[in-house]
């Protein structure tokens, strides 16, 4: 069995269960984002393009996740080894989802769908800002660094309100922390472009590709890793 980080990560990002505030939390010291993250005091004009790097830690393991946001597209690299996940929001608010298998150089794509309700996350913010639960606490700080911070019965969430981006979350014994942020459009475009040439198949077509052994292995890989998703909604 692979690391359970994938499962932890799925919980961290894709659970939209509302977490009640913890009454015990009142009076705790406010969350402070390290200066090394590089959040500018003045937000760039175009916040639709950003690259956020996170560290996920659970059970003594750590993994880095890169989140690339480009208007109505978002790309997660590092959620699971050799897998990248891409979503694109359509004008009708349906979402196209593609799973890239880096070790095979191929991808499988879903039809546009309200898929998010299936996988547990309920809104675009969960994908583009890792923030399934937007704290309604008052934000402190100025400009781009404005931060809403909330304690919940499961842990804590800190959220950069001007960037619609999670800064820190602790829940189910795992933490995810923003460690770097940039707005370099060329680098962001390059990250998306990196998988542009992957041949894609639709999930709908998998059933008619019975002689494609590599595809069968890709399917098995992605489903095995999903199997340890321990927190279903």
């Amino acid at each position: 069995m692979k690391s359970n980080l994938s499962a932890v990560f799925a919980v961290l990002i894709l659970t939209a269960c509302s977490e009640a505030d913890s009454p015990a939390a009142v009076g705790n010291a406010p969350f402070v984002l390290p200066a090394s993250v590089g959040v500018p005091s003045v937000c760039p004009d175009d916040r639709a393009f950003l690259h956020a790097r996170y560290r996920i830690a659970a059970g003594g393991e750590t993994r880095m996740l890169d989140l690339y946001r480009r208007a109505n597209e978002v790309l997660h690299v590092g959620r699971e080894p050799d897998l990248a996940e891409y979503w694109r929001r359509l004008p009708n608010d349906r979402i196209v989802h593609t799973r890239f298998f880096d070790d095979y150089g191929r991808g499988i794509e879903y039809e546009p769908s309200d898929l998010l309700s299936v996988t547990g996350a309920q809104n675009w913010a969960a994908l583009s800002g890792l923030a399934p639960v937007r704290p309604d606490a008052e934000a402190s700080g100025e400009g781009c660094t404005a931060l809403a911070d909330r304690h919940t019965v499961f842990g804590r969430i800190a959220y950069l309100t001007e960037l619609d981006l999670m800064a820190y979350r602790r829940t189910y014994g795992a933490t995810i922390s923003l460690v770097a942020l940039d707005f370099d459009r060329d680098a962001i475009d390059a990250a998306f472009r990196e998988r542009d040439d992957y041949p894609l198949v639709d999930f709908a077509d998998v059933g008619d590709m019975e002689n494609d052994d590599e595809l069968a292995r890709m399917m098995a890989k992605s489903f095995m890793e999903r199997r340890d998703h321990g927190h279903a909604h």
């Binding site: 694109r88 359509l90 039809e111 546009p112 769908s113 639709d202 709908a204 059933g207 399917m219």
Partner: protein, 605 residues
């Protein structure tokens, strides 16, 4: 049982002979004579079925009561006459009342009368089909047809089982054996090739016979088959292709393209060796169809396919965002790596033709006056019927596309050939979602009804069939009218039946696939691909199995549910329909169409 009737007859007692001389003196009295023997007659009643009187009657036996016991024993019978009852030739209506007043009885009688009339109408008729429409439900096996028929009936407020889909009312039906030359359980490429060329071939290959090795370009030219659509073109008929899948997908592709691998939908899907060797991708072959056919048959002038409607834009467009359609789902819609834009190439080749990509464009078509129609409504497959309302810019239904195609094609006095595929029945089954498959089957049935309403069945052969089935089955003793997608409630009961594991079970199940999923109102059957395989028995007690997002239980875990290998139904009406009968090889469908419409001869020029 024997009933003895005795009729006494005067005995023939001894008499003294008289003399002519004087009477002599009286003699002494003689000794007493022996008792007189009596002749008897005995009548035996005979029941129906008797060897001598099949309808029953009486056997009249006569003879001497030699043992003087006053009864005529069998051994004493010396003669027998039979008095037989005449046979019944008429049953009274009172005697048949229970049958005659039964609607199944009268309905069955009407069905047979209609079949008799259809057979009589066709007997000895030399009438040929001017037009041919081939409807193929991809994956629409027998169990799918039955379940869809029941669901459609239940939608209409009926118990459902008594319902008929449009093609269920066709007068002639047979079975097709679907295997491919190298596969017991087939795929669409091999099966559709069989149907449109008359030649069974290998799984995965399109338009070539079995001598071509899947995925290799070698030996393709020598083993190329001619399709019914090509023959129709050569015959000067109008032609059309409609599909809810990508128009480059195996089933529609088999009508116009040759490919050693069904996946060669555009050039980026092909190995470099195949491109170098001169093989062409499927999308290219669609827009180059007219030129290709003319080069294959030198000296012949054809006018190209009049109607093309379906999905699959990505295979026609270059990998360049500048070529995106307004409703592209990907940031770069096109897949082609040769830089060609086949949509604009088609527009250049057919300047009077109309290219549309959404519902508004479709609605604006004047199908009666249009020259050629090229419609690509989706980047990939068109939507599942249950998901169609969610399309960004709207898509026509398969019934709307079928009607538009016929209205365009039937203007040709030389007739037309039209192939219509419901391509997504198959996909929903692969995802293990019966609801989506049945909804697409019902939409397909509606499309077929539209065709029946629009054409003259005296001159149009309509064949409806499937390329193969799926491993969906239905059973478990549900009572009449039980929701077809529901849990089994047995006859006389109101609660779900519990199986031997004390859990309820559904009527519809799959023998393999991804298994159970309760996705509620989700209308995208493919959503289950993002979730783990979950086969085996589940507790469905609190699950709404009628919801569109319910995925039925499956036994054997597979990445996706598979095709099945049993026969499929072939349903036909119009001239030549009577040739669909018995259990035939699937490639016979081509020969039915050819015999009915004389395609090969007409193509001869």
């Amino acid at each position: 049982m024997r009933k003895l009737l005795i009729t006494t007859v005067l005995a023939s007692a001894a008499t003294l002979a008289g003399c002519d001389g004087d009477d002599g003196a009286p003699g002494t009295p003689g000794a007493d004579g022996a008792p007189g023997q009596v002749s008897l007659v005995r009548q035996d009643a005979l029941t129906v079925g008797d060897a001598n009187c099949p309808n029953g009657g009486t056997a009249i036996n006569s003879g001497i009561d030699t043992d003087s016991d006053g009864a005529l024993a069998d051994s004493e019978v010396t003669a027998t006459n039979f008095n037989c009852r005449p046979g019944r030739t008429v049953l009274t209506s009172a005697e048949l009342n229970a049958s005659l007043s039964n609607s199944y009885f009268s309905g069955g009688r009407k069905t047979v009368a209609a079949t008799r009339a259809a057979v009589d109408a066709r007997a000895g008729s030399n009438r040929r089909a001017k037009n041919v429409i081939l409807f193929v439900g991809d994956g629409m096996g027998i169990s799918t047809v039955t379940a869809a028929r029941i669901l459609d009936g239940q939608d209409k407020g009926m118990p459902g089982e008594e319902n008929q889909l449009s093609f269920g009312r066709f007068p002639f039906t047979g079975l097709a054996k679907t295997y491919n030359v190298d596969a017991q359980t087939p795929d669409s490429a091999g099966t559709m090739t069989a149907m449109v060329t008359g030649v069974k071939t290998d799984v995965g290959t399109i338009g070539y016979d079995e001598d071509v090795v899947r995925g290799t370009c070698e030996a393709t030219q020598a083993n190329e088959l001619v399709t019914a659509l090509e023959l129709a073109e050569l015959a000067g008929m109008s032609t059309g292709i409609v599909s809810t899948a990508r128009i480059t997908h195996a089933t529609p592709a088999a009508t116009y393209a040759k490919a050693a691998n069904r996946n060669w939908e555009d050039i980026s899907d092909m190995p470099a060796a195949a491109v170098t060797a001169g093989c062409k991708d499927i999308a290219d072959q669609l827009v180059s169809f007219e030129a290709n056919l003319e080069s294959k048959f030198p000296g012949r002038d054809v006018d190209g396919i009049e109607v093309v409607m379906g999905g699959g834009r990505r295979h026609f467009l270059p990998r360049d965002a500048a070529a995106n359609s307004p409703d592209a789902r990907s940031s770069v819609e096109g897949d082609r790596t040769d830089g060609r834009n086949l949509v604009t190439e088609w527009q250049a080749a057919y300047p009077a033709g109309e290219y549309v990509f959404d519902q508004a464009g479709f609605d604006a078509l004047n199908v009666e006056t249009a020259d050629k129609i090229f419609a690509l409504f989706n980047e990939s497959h068109m939507q599942y019927e249950i998901d169609r309302a969610n399309d960004v810019r709207g898509e026509p239904s398969i019934a709307e596309m079928t009607a538009a195609a016929i209205q365009r094609l039937d203007n040709d006095p030389d007739g037309f050939f039209l192939s219509v595929e419901s391509g997504r029945i198959d996909h929903s089954h692969h995802a293990g979602n019966a609801h989506g498959a049945l909804r697409d089957t019902i939409a397909f049935s509606e499309a077929i009804q539209r065709a029946v309403d629009l054409v003259d069945l005296n001159e149009t052969l309509i064949i409806v069939t499937a390329d193969h089935g799926h491993v969906m089955t239905l059973g478990g003793y549900p009572k009449r009218g039980n929701p077809i997608l529901g849990k089994v409630v047995r006859v006389g009961k109101t609660d779900a039946h519990l199986a031997a594991d004390d859990l309820p079970h559904t009527t519809v199940t799959y023998s393999n696939g991804r298994g159970f999923r309760d996705l509620g109102n989700n209308t995208n059957p493919d959503a289950s691909y993002g979730l783990p395989i979950d086969t085996g028995r589940k507790d469905l007690t609190s699950v709404n199995t009628l919801a569109p997002g319910f995925h039925q239980e499956a036994l054997v875990p597979t990445g996706s549910e598979t095709h099945s290998g049993e026969d499929v139904g072939v349903y036909a009406t119009g001239p030549g329909a009577e040739l669909v009968a018995g259990t035939q090889e699937q490639n016979a469908i081509f020969h039915v169409m050819d015999r009915a419409a004389n395609l090969v001869t007409r193509a001869g020029g």
